[in-house]
Symmetry: C2
Subunit: 690 residues, 2 copies
């Protein structure tokens, strides 16, 4: 009730804020009153619609309004007598909004419970389902006379699945970045998709170092692969690929049965995508059984348990001081992003959470070391970033040993040679934990394939594909390889004579004796780019390249100079990084191409177009776009976006997080990541091993 | 701007809602206008404070106000021309509140980030800390000449810790419910507390079955023990207790060092609390190595992996149909709460999440079996609840095999005998997974202690304590045992002669020949209750008991009848349930008593009170209050609260959850539990194994 008078006063007050209204008041109540009103209120400037209302309200044809001093008092901004003071009003509003908030929250919680209740299914009726006899006991065949899984038990589980039975069979080996990107890009219904992998989840590898110390949960980094496959109504078999029969189009797959015997069977394919990833590169070092690796969730779990076990052992009264120091000496072999991020996360944990619960002596005796064979850590990044990271680590008392090569790992120490004044000096470091993260090597399956394909495959580290990601040596358009297990063959230099011959033929000259001008160089570059799109990045500053390789400053490039130039570019191209980014792009590329092929196939078949050239006919060659690299280095992060580099503290960390958050595979993992970061902020890391 | 005129009209309008104001208006503007105003507005009834304001505002001494028809129009409830329609206003408000919500949320997120940023410490300065030489290399001694850890490395980590150095040393073995309840009840600073356990976390055991199928995270059920100890500024050693030397007050503790050698040392104590829990009871069955258990987080993890592995194997084309059915046959041996809840959770997972991603044939071939030796599952609960659970399982197609005893477990099947028409019939069940949850047995450590104490310890299943929870046979007031590893010795029947002799002596009669009346029986009962408080529950209906045991209906009990009665009560008492609830109450009891002792000790020492009787002097005997039992049985739950039983569907499940939520050990685990339930509702269970 009290607010009525106040509202009235407020309404009247506002009426007189108009200059025209003030003029009226001046006429009615004398200039003194009008001035006092104007003093009280700041004048407002835009009155267009106000005025008409005011005038309509204060009908000038009955100008008999007079304001008494008491009325004027009401017009002031001071509260009416007996009215709420601002502080009371503030609390009144605070309570009102708190009430609103509580009611809304209660409503939301209630709504959640209602939703939650709907998620409990009580459907225990089991209906008969059609399962093909061939699925239950598959026929035998192929070169090794193994069961051939041409029909699967869930081929008729739904009408969608039944409709795919006669579509081309696509078999995807592996559940890493490449395979998942392919699965997410593929249109549902075009292929009969079967994914084969020894693990039944996709792992968000870039954040794995965070899981080793409890910053993130293991569960937040994995997505069940069946959920991803579900979109394309595909199938999943938890098994390992053993070999491929290219002529009969069969993949040999094996799995241990419950008694531990290896069972083999064939999986027929029309399109085979190999995305089996890589294994750890031992670099011929002895004693790697004393090291930890960081490629799977299991590895991360073991690392966490070992780190915590060492901390617990260090607390025991029977542990001598020397032994305590050894247990607390953590060595990371390899200064790439994985090694650096693990060292950073480990340091964070030791710094932020250790002191909360462990004896202080541990913090004093802990040491973290990074052994790097090159001159800098993060050597694929911009040099400024490497230096930033090194300074950061120096400040954090993480020892960085550059130009050092591990010779041998023993249970309690690590032997390495370090270059000092140009001479290698052998040193040793006592250690309680060693992480081995020094690049990738080929898996057994890939080695088998490379051997089988003989001369077509010449790379020791990965399966070679052409620019359409087709495995070289296998029948064209049947087998593709993506991700860490593959490399795209360029051979620009080998194609050089083709390029030059074409040009010479156009100009009527001898390629060997030809001197090409800058204009002609631009033409060559154009052709190289068209044939090898991934070279584009390296052919941006054509003038600079031309200058750099025109050693005799003749204004033209002769054959030798041009050859040198292209070989250099070729060398750069062969090293596509073994990153999630590359695999992701390759998977998406294949997905788009397969979609095109599926929609083009009926027309092509009618026209009897050569199947071998299908890929080129429907889609462009693969082109790698480097989006940049980033790394977390202990409450700071570095970014390297194609030439632009950037490093910084906490804000950079939040940027680093938000990039990975955006790249995360599903809504689910995003929510889990957000929850994990909240947990860390609220409760710290969980120093629990099990 | 538009709202200004509206506000003015609103204010003026309200002014004229007062009858007194209307009378004024009637005088100024003529009765017609006043009536029309009254028609437009419903009159308001309470005007006390309004009137004075209105009158002050409309100063009656200048009654020259006239309202024109256009002014009157403004007073109507219809919106002004050009004004917002209600629907527009509704949306306007909706947007305003949405905006408010978004701004508030943004503010909260921002505030969170600011808070988050403060949790990153950048404190890498390492200062010298004082560590006693004795802590780094402990002196040797004791019967086995082992290192004696009388000083620990973190004894001087903080002033609080240093202040406790000379306090009585309390050693707590185990980190289960009892130990944690004790740690949470104990006042900080009274004792020098050291906790010894092979695991460094507290496990919320009642919800462990939920973790086996991914409903809850492992991490949400554990709390790092160091965090709990932190409150009392205690110490933790991850090690295992081996034996106790009662005369020198030393616990022998062992731990494997990093090379795998067992290292032994002594820990001196003034008060030793044994809360080491129990191991699984094999009941002499062969082949338990093919079974899973459910006592630790590791067990839960292994169960999850095995269940998922079986599901994956069942999808393979090489798995014959018989083998698939075997792999999908899940057997639970033991129909207690753990077994029942696991079966329920497993069934939930299979029912709610399996079909989302696995082939439908799996759902059809899955079977869940519970083998129970008694006539009903949940046999310690009210019979109505057992039946409810059995009906629920029957509806869910979970097979309950009652009156069945497992004879042998083989890798692929389980052999059991079932009573049929009074005869045992041997049957077999193919199985792919077996959970063994059939009661508790003594750990090796407890067996060692019982043997050492000889005749004082007569129970094969647990360490016997008196009603003050002091270990019988050990020096009084030194050693206590709580939780599953202990049982409280009653021996009411043994004390019978004492009771009767006292009474006979009071009455001058011969105990053997005495007939006691109901009044005298009440006296006896009173004494029994005083000596054995846990008997109180069984001595409530004294009249009924008297009637029941007065077999000759003489109106009095003779010696034989009374003896029979007390033996029956004694038998009921010895079986304190091996539950979290009991351990929790015992831990709290000890905590309170130790607090009393600590505060009473200085005074008692001055008076040279006998140390042996300290417990009785300062605190009452332990009394178990059964708060009820509950169990989750698959989208339904049963409760048994001391006679009152209750069962139901989802609402009961929410009640079940909220009870455990409230009992959860820390704010952290509560938040994690809430997050987990949200995750399950949003994304289902994670069918990922690693």
């Amino acid at each position: 009730m009290e607010s009525v008078a106040r509202l009235a006063s407020f309404g009247v007050k506002r009426l007189y804020q108009s200059p025209r209204a003030c003029a009226q008041i001046s006429r009615w109540a004398g200039p003194k009153t009008a001035t006092s009103i104007r003093r009280i209120h700041t004048p407002i400037t835009n009155f267009a619609s106000l005025e008409s209302n005011v005038l309509r309200c204060l009908n000038p044809r009955s100008p008999s309004l007079r304001l008494s001093p008491s009325q004027l008092r009401l017009l002031s901004t001071k509260p009416l007598p007996g009215h709420r003071r601002p502080i009371v009003r503030f609390f009144y509003r605070l309570f009102a909004y708190t009430g609103l908030f509580i009611l809304t929250s209660t409503g939301l919680v209630f709504a959640f419970f209602v939703y939650d209740a709907t998620t409990y299914k009580d459907n225990s009726t089991i209906s008969d389902i059609p399962v093909s006899e061939h699925a239950l006991s598959p026929k035998r065949g192929g070169p090794k006379n193994l069961p051939i899984a041409s029909v699967l038990v869930d081929d008729e589980d739904s009408p969608d699945m039944a409709a795919q039975r006669d579509k081309p069979k696509m078999v995807i080996l592996g559940t890493g970045w490449g395979s998942v990107a392919l699965l997410k890009t593929l249109h549902a219904g075009d292929y009969h998709v079967t994914v084969v992998s020894p693990v039944n989840h996709f792992l968000f590898t870039p954040m794995l170092p965070s899981a080793t110390v409890g910053t993130l949960e293991f569960r937040s980094l994995v997505e069940p692969i069946r959920r991803i496959i579900h979109r394309v109504k595909g199938h999943f078999l938890q098994a390992e690929a053993e070999s491929v029969d290219f002529s009969e189009k069969l993949v040999e797959v094996s799995q241990l049965d419950s008694s531990g015997n290896k069972v083999h069977f064939y999986l027929p394919y029309d399109k085979l995508v190999i995305g089996v990833g890589s294994s750890t590169n031992p670099h011929g070092v002895k004693g790697l059984e004393h090291c930890h690796f960081l490629k799977s969730i299991n590895d991360a779990q073991q690392i966490k348990n070992t780190v915590l076990h060492n901390l617990e052992l260090a607390c025991l009264p029977t542990t001598p001081d020397e032994e305590r120091k050894r247990l607390l000496s953590f060595v990371v072999s390899g200064g790439g992003p994985t090694g650096v991020e693990f060292a950073a996360e480990l340091y964070d944990m030791l710094n932020e959470d250790l002191l909360r619960s462990f004896p202080r002596i541990l913090r004093n005796e802990i040491s973290v070391h990074i052994i790097q064979s090159r001159g800098h850590i993060l050597n694929t990044y911009d040099e400024a970033l490497s230096k930033f990271a090194e300074e950061r680590f120096a400040h954090d008392q993480v020892e960085v040993l550059t130009n050092s090569r591990v010779k041998e790992v023993r249970p309690d120490k690590i032997l390495f040679t370090q270059m000092e004044d140009g001479k290698p000096v052998t040193k040793e470091l006592p250690m309680g934990f060693c992480l081995w993260s020094t690049g990738v090597a080929q898996t057994e399956f890939c080695k088998t394939l490379a051997k089988q394909l003989g001369d077509s495959q010449n790379n020791r580290h990965a399966l070679e594909t052409d620019t359409h990601l087709r495995l070289i040596g296998a029948p064209l358009g049947d087998v593709y390889a993506i991700g860490d297990c593959s490399t795209v063959q360029n051979n620009i230099a080998d194609h050089l004579t083709t390029f030059l011959r074409t040009m010479a033929w156009e100009k009527g000259k001898d390629p060997e004796k030809m001197h090409i001008t800058f204009k002609e160089w631009r033409e060559v570059a154009q052709r190289v780019k068209k044939r090898f799109p991934q070279a584009t990045d390296h052919l941006r500053r054509l003038d600079r390249l031309f200058e750099a390789y025109d050693k005799d400053k003749s204004g033209t490039l002769d054959f030798g100079e041009l050859h040198e130039l292209l070989v250099q570019i070729d060398n750069k191209l062969t090293s596509l990084p073994a990153t999630a980014q590359r695999a992701n792009q390759q998977g998406q590329y294949l997905g788009r191409k397969f979609n095109k092929i599926a929609s083009a196939l009926p027309g092509l078949r009618a026209n009897e177009v050569d199947y071998d050239g299908l890929d080129e006919a429907v889609y462009k060659a693969f082109e790698y776009h480097h989006m940049g690299s980033l790394a977390y280095i202990g409450n700071a992060a570095v970014f390297d976006f194609g030439g632009m580099s950037f490093s910084g503290g906490l804000l950079a960390v939040y940027l680093w997080r938000s990039i990975y958050f955006a790249q995360s595979v599903s809504f689910r993992t995003r929510i889990l990541l957000a929850m994990d970061w909240t947990k860390r902020a609220l409760f710290g890391r969980d120093l629990v091993s099990y």
